[in-house]
């Protein structure tokens, strides 16, 4: 089951560029939360702060508090530990090209020394079923490389890889922006199914996508969070003028 995320006074920098300013936000457990906003508004930086990927860039810096469940991720633990509990799916599918489909899914577990083959088989099957890829790949799990799949399949493989370690939170950074419409709709269906079991945070520049999959939506602009509310309210009756301008297409 997922856990909630509590963000307090989060600030982030890239070099001298203050990309996130005073973000305060409560992301509910076992729901999908969408983050929208124009390019460069800081929404990707924000999700990368939730699993401490932001700081892998040597010039990046973060201050503030992020609590995932009971864990203060910037003070209570190392980045490695939090990334085992928070899965991430990136904008461009990035399966491991030298590994089979099976090994791609099992990569997170094998990396951490898990080697019970029966359990691995089960987890791989369950993860691929959860990511709606099982039927398409079950016959050549160990024969085909992860890179031999189509773009949409690769992205679902990446979702399966993230799900295999049974994360409490699943972060998705524009997971469908590099995909065709059919693959996009498959990914959206998937998010719809997964959100009962995981806390999902999805970054998207596609407002329809946010409206379709998320209960809560946050609107980012110039490094600040302008508004955070139920998706329905954001898209029908936003309280901030800038949100209204953005969702009605006046900019962005």
């Amino acid at each position: 089951m997922g856990v909630g995320i509590e963000v307090t006074n989060l600030n982030a920098w890239y070099g001298t560029n203050h990309t996130l300013q005073d973000i305060n936000l409560n992301i509910p457990a076992n729901h999908a939360t969408a983050l929208i906003g124009p390019s460069g508004c800081g929404k990707s930086t924000f999700v990368r702060c939730l699993n401490r990927m932001h700081e892998t860039n040597p010039i990046a810096r973060v201050t503030g508090t992020v609590r995932i469940g009971d864990l203060d991720i910037y003070n209570d633990c190392k980045p490695v530990e939090i990334r085992r509990r928070v899965g991430m799916v990136f904008q461009r599918p990035n399966p491991f090209p030298t590994m089979s489909i099976y090994d791609n899914v099992a990569a997170g577990l094998k990396l951490n020394g898990y080697s019970n083959h029966h359990v691995l088989d089960e987890i791989v099957e369950r993860s691929l079923k959860n990511s709606a890829l099982w039927d398409e790949v079950k016959d050549d799990l160990k024969k085909k490389s992860g890179a031999s799949l189509s773009g949409g399949q690769q992205q679902r493989l990446c979702i399966a890889r993230a799900l295999a370690v049974d994360p409490e939170v699943l972060l998705m950074d524009e997971p469908a922006s590099a995909l065709d419409p059919v693959s996009t709709s498959k990914i959206e269906d998937l998010i719809f199914q997964l959100k009962s079991q995981y806390t999902i945070v999805i970054v998207t520049h596609n407002m329809q996508q946010a409206a379709r999959v998320a209960e809560k939506t946050g609107f980012f602009l110039n490094g600040r969070m302008v508004e955070f509310d139920s998706t329905h309210k954001i898209f029908t009756n936003p309280s901030d003028k800038r949100t209204e301008d953005y969702i009605t297409g006046r900019f962005g």
Partner: protein, 370 residues
């Protein structure tokens, strides 16, 4: 030509349309002047064709040189080839596989006369052996070190140190091999003679591979060490190149699964770059196989095959360098050229293979870029 262009620019700037008026004022004399000028240049088709053939000729020079070398080597080795055939690359006349095997294993047994210019018997066996042994010793020492250097430079090195370190590593490749040889003779060989060889003899002497207490400090092992130093920059700079070609998204994918830095390097970088790294190693091997000067200076130049890596030996390249100037007999000369031909073919094949592998990782295989 330049003058015309300048004057037209002037015309253009003086008579250009005032802003806001648009192009609707009909006559545009300056534009048509430019058009006339451009049209009057013709299509230069003749010059283009000459240029094209000139470049084709330049490119063909390369193939021409390679072909000429190959032809000369084949032609020069005819005499030896007709006399010895494939036995040139096997054991000499009058010896069996078993007797040679015994001579290799037993340091007290009489060594066969593999290379006998006086009686006209030639066998490439000791040189093939020496080339392979010294090259593989070099790889054994250089590969872990080179990969370590590459990993440090690409993944761990602080930014300010990266460029100077990479620069120095690549400078190592620019040092002429005779300088390496000199350094080896004055520094490495005494060190081997006084410290390393006695130590190896004492600790690993029982294996037979380090049994020969060579009083000179020369030999296969010293040659291997100097070769390792020489091929280190090639392997590490190419390994660095293929590691840099691994997309950043692969590193992020592994990190996001909760990998430590070492796991990220192993799974996200080295695993993806492994074909290119193999290419880099083979390229290093290619250089080690053909390296002449430094090896000739430290390998000891004895035409024998011993099990001990501390004993003196000879490589295909070093025997050519040593004997070519004094080979007066036609058969002797031809045998040396045949050695050269064999070395030529082997290094060309090895290098081609290596380039292909490196190329497959750094430029080809677009699927990896995802």
């Amino acid at each position: 030509m330049t003058e015309i262009r300048i004057s037209q620019t002037q015309v253009l700037s003086e008579a250009g349309n005032p802003p806001g008026q648009g192009p609707a004022n009909g006559a545009q004399p300056e534009a048509s002047a430019i058009r006339t000028f451009l049209l009057s240049r013709g299509n230069s088709a003749g010059a283009d064709r000459v240029f094209q053939w000139l470049m084709v000729l330049c490119a063909l020079t390369i193939f021409g040189i390679v072909a000429l070398i190959a032809m000369q080597l084949v032609y020069g080795s005819q005499l030896s080839w007709h006399k010895f055939g494939f036995s040139f690359f096997a054991w000499p006349a009058g010896f069996t596989f078993a007797s040679i095997f015994k001579a290799v294993l037993d340091p007290n047994a009489a060594q066969p006369n593999y290379w006998d210019p006086v009686n006209g018997h030639f066998s490439a066996l000791p040189f093939i052996y020496g080339t392979l042994v010294s090259s593989f010793l070099a790889l054994l020492m250089a590969v872990p070190l080179a990969i370590g250097v590459a990993v440090f430079l690409t993944e761990m090195c602080p930014g300010a140190l990266r460029a100077p370190l990479a620069f120095i590593t690549e400078l190592l490749a620019a040092i002429p091999s005779v300088i390496y040889g000199l350094w080896a003779v004055f520094v490495l060989v005494p060190l081997m003679r006084e410290q390393v060889n006695p130590f190896l003899n004492k600790t690993l002497g029982w294996t037979g591979f380090f049994s020969d207490d060579n009083p000179t400090g020369l030999g296969f092992f010293s040659a291997g060490v100097i070769l390792a130093i020489m091929i280190l920059p090639i392997i590490s700079s190419l390994t660095r190149e293929v590691m840099l070609a691994v997309p950043h998204s692969q590193r992020e994918a592994v990190l996001a699964l909760g990998a430590t830095r070492w796991e990220m390097i192993r799974v996200g970088v080295l695993r993806n770059a492994r074909i290119g790294i193999v290419g880099a190693i083979i390229l290093g091997l290619g250089r080690a196989l053909g390296e002449t000067m430094a090896v000739t200076m430290v390998i000891g130049n004895s035409i024998e095959i011993h099990r001990s890596l501390l004993s003196n030996g000879n490589t295909m390249a070093s025997v050519i360098a040593n004997q070519f100037s004094e080979a007066s007999d036609n058969m002797h000369l031809s045998a040396l050229v045949e050695l050269g031909l064999a070395l030529f073919v082997v290094t060309i094949v090895v290098n081609a293979l290596a380039q292909l592998l490196v190329w497959a990782v750094t430029r080809g295989a677009p699927a990896r870029a995802s």
